[in-house]
Point group: C2
Chain length 321, copies 2
C-alpha cells in the first residue's frame, strides 16, 4: 500500500550522508541501509505521530523488562522472524548439484557453552520429573555428499524440562540438567537418553506478548530438542527437532520449523530405561560449502546469566562478612 503523496526526496540521503569520514565501512553500509528502510517504511504507511510514539514506548519497554536471563530484544526479533532470517543468510547451504545438509534453524536464547561431555549411552536427565517421558535417541552423522560416517563429531543437546523451563530459568533444576555433549563413535553413531520434549509458551507478560496479541498470533512454540553439531572439517549445524504430532508445527511463534526437522517418536518396549525411541540422522557439509566460513560463533545468553550469577554470589559473600 505505497503512499501516493510526495515527500522531500533529499531528506533520507541527507541523513545517510550525515555519517562522517571515520564511520567504519561496514557500519556505513549496514546503518545506511537500515535508515533507508525505516524511512521507506514510515513513508509507505504514512506513519502518524501517535503511531510513532507508540513504537518509541514499545522500544523502551523492551530493555526495561530485560535482565541477564531475559533477553526480550532477542525474543522480539524471533517473533518477527528476524533471527530465523539471519540464520538463513548466515548458514543456508546448497551445492550446484542441489545437495543440502540437515537444516539449520535459530539458536534461541538458551544454549550454554558449558554443557558437560557425557559418554555415549548416558542420560542428560539429572533431575527426573514424574511426567517426563524418557526417550532413547540415536542415529548417525554422515557427509552429505559421500554418505560416509563422520567420526568424532560433537553433538551438543539442550532441552527444556517437562515444565517447559531450561535449567537456568528454573531454581529447581541443577546446572546442566538436560544438557550434554556427545562424540560420535568410529561409525559416526551416537545415542543417549533424553526427554520427549514439551511445547511451551513464550513469556507473554512483556513486549513480545503485546506484539503477539496485537498480531493475533499464538505464543506457543512446538515441542523441540535443540542440537548443535560441530566438527573441525564441517560446517556447524545448529537446529531443533520437533515431534511430528505436535499441534503447533504450523504456528511456531519464532518461525523455526523446517520439514526435515520433524521427527517420529516411537513406542519402545525393550528398554526398562525408556518408553520412547527416536532415530535421527544428520547430514553435514564440508566447510568449503559454507557461504560465511568466517562468520562469528553463536552468541548465547549464557554470559549474561553467568555474570548475574557471579554478582549474586559476590553479594551473598559480602553479606556473610
Amino acid at each position: 500500500m505505497p503512499s501516493t503523496r510526495q515527500f522531500d526526496p533529499t531528506f533520507t540521503p541527507s541523513v545517510v550522508n550525515g555519517m562522517g569520514p571515520n564511520t567504519p565501512e561496514r557500519a556505513r553500509v549496514v546503518l545506511g541501509s537500515l535508515i533507508k528502510h525505516i524511512h521507506d517504511f514510515a513513508r509507505e504507511v504514512e506513519l502518524t505521530s501517535a503511531e510513532w510514539m507508540l513504537g518509541v514506548e514499545f522500544i523502551n519497554s523492551i530493555g526495561q523488562i530485560s535482565t541477564p536471563i531475559r533477553n526480550e530484544g532477542h525474543r522480539i526479533c524471533d517473533v518477527i522472524g528476524l533471527e530465523s532470517l539471519v540464520d538463513e543468510i548466515a548458514n543456508k547451504i546448497i551445492t550446484e548439484d542441489g545437495i543440502s545438509p540437515t537444516s539449520n534453524v535459530i539458536l534461541g536464547p538458551f544454549w550454554s557453552p558449558n554443557a558437560p561431555f557425557r559418554a555415549l549411552g548416558d542420560s542428560i536427565i539429572q533431575d527426573p520429573k514424574p511426567n517426563g517421558r524418557v526417550t532413547f535417541m540415536h542415529g548417525a552423522v554422515k557427509d552429505m555428499e559421500t554418505g560416509k560416517p563422520i567420526v568424532g563429531a560433537v553433538l551438543d543437546i539442550w532441552q527444556a524440562s517437562s515444565n517447559g523451563q531450561y535449567d537456568f530459568q528454573d531454581p529447581t533444576q541443577t546446572d546442566n540438567n538436560l544438557r550434554g555433549k556427545f562424540r560420535t563413535n568410529e561409525k559416526g553413531e551416537f545415542n543417549w537418553y533424553c526427554y520427549h520434549p514439551t511445547p511451551y509458551s513464550l513469556p507473554t507478560d512483556g513486549p513480545a506478548g503485546v506484539l503477539l496479541n496485537l498480531m493475533d498470533r499464538s505464543p506457543m512454540r512446538p515441542a523441540h530438542i535443540h542440537l548443535m553439531i560441530t566438527h573441525p572439517e564441517y560446517a556447524t549445524v545448529i537446529n531443533q527437532i520437533y515431534p511430528s504430532d505436535d499441534p503447533h508445527l504450523e504456528i511456531d511463534s519464532v518461525f523455526a520449523v523446517k520439514d526435515d526437522l520433524v521427527v517420529d517418536f516411537k513406542p519402545k518396549t525393550d528398554d526398562p530405561k525408556a518408553s520412547l525411541d527416536l532415530e535421527y540422522n544428520v547430514k553435514m557439509a564440508l566447510k568449503k560449502h559454507h557461504p560465511n566460513p568466517n562468520s562469528a560463533p553463536p552468541v548465547s545468553s549464557f554470559e549474561r546469566h553467568a555474570k548475574a550469577a557471579k554478582e549474586a554470589q559476590a553479594k551473598a559473600a559480602m553479606g556473610k562478612l
Copy 2:
C-alpha cells in the same frame, strides 16, 4: 549494495501472513510493512549473526537507560531522522499554488502542556542566569494566503536555559522557567522577553552517544527556541527557530533545521531590559489545507515526568507518616 544471493522468497510472506484475523487493519498494514522492510534490510546487507546480536543488545540498552525524564527511544529516532520524517508526513502543507505556511519541525521531548499564560510584554525568564542574553522577541501571525492578521492565536514558547538544560532536567530551575503561552492581539502581534538560545549536546552517555560516535557525527544541536502556535481555525505550527550565526546549523544531530526557521538576532540599545532584538513573523494555513486534520495531538515527555514527580511526592509523604 543489494545482495546477489537468493533467499527463500516465501519466508517474509509467511511471517506477515502469520497475523491472525483479529489483527486490527491498521496494525496489519503498519506491522506488515515494518516486517517486510526489516527483512529486506537484513537480506540487502547480508546481516551477520554477530551484527544482529549487537543490534539486539543496542535495542535492550535503549530502554535500560530510559527514565520518566529521559526518553532514549525518542532520542534515537531523532538521531536517525525518523521524528523529522514523521513530522513531514504528518504536517507538510503545500497548496496547488505552491503556497506553504511557516515550516513545522520536530516537537522534541521537552514540551510541557502546562506552561502558564503570560501577558504580552512579559518575560519567560523566572530564574535569571548571569550569562543569559535577554532578547526582546516580537512579530505577527498572519494567514499564509490572505496575509490578514490572525487574532487570538496562542504561541507556546519553551527553551533551555543558558546551561543547555530545560526546567525539568535541572533542579536549580523553577517549574515553567523559560516557558510561557502568549495570545496575539487584535493586530495578530505578539512580544515577550526570552533568552538568546544556547547550543547544547545531546546526552552522549547512552545509546544515542554510541550511535552518533559510530556514525562519526556531532551530538550538538544548534541553539534554538521552541514554538507551538495554535488557533482553532488554523493548522498548528510546531517548530524551532535558530540564530543565523550558529555554527551547528548544517550538522544538527536531529535534522530539524529548515531555511525559513533561521533568524537574525540584532543588537538592541533602546531597552534597559534587553540587549538583543528578534523579529519573527509566522504564516499559518487554514485547517482545510492540512493533510491529516484528524491526526493525534503532540505527545510529550511531560506526562512521564509528572507521573514520576507524583510518585516521588507520594513516597515522601509516606515517609513522613
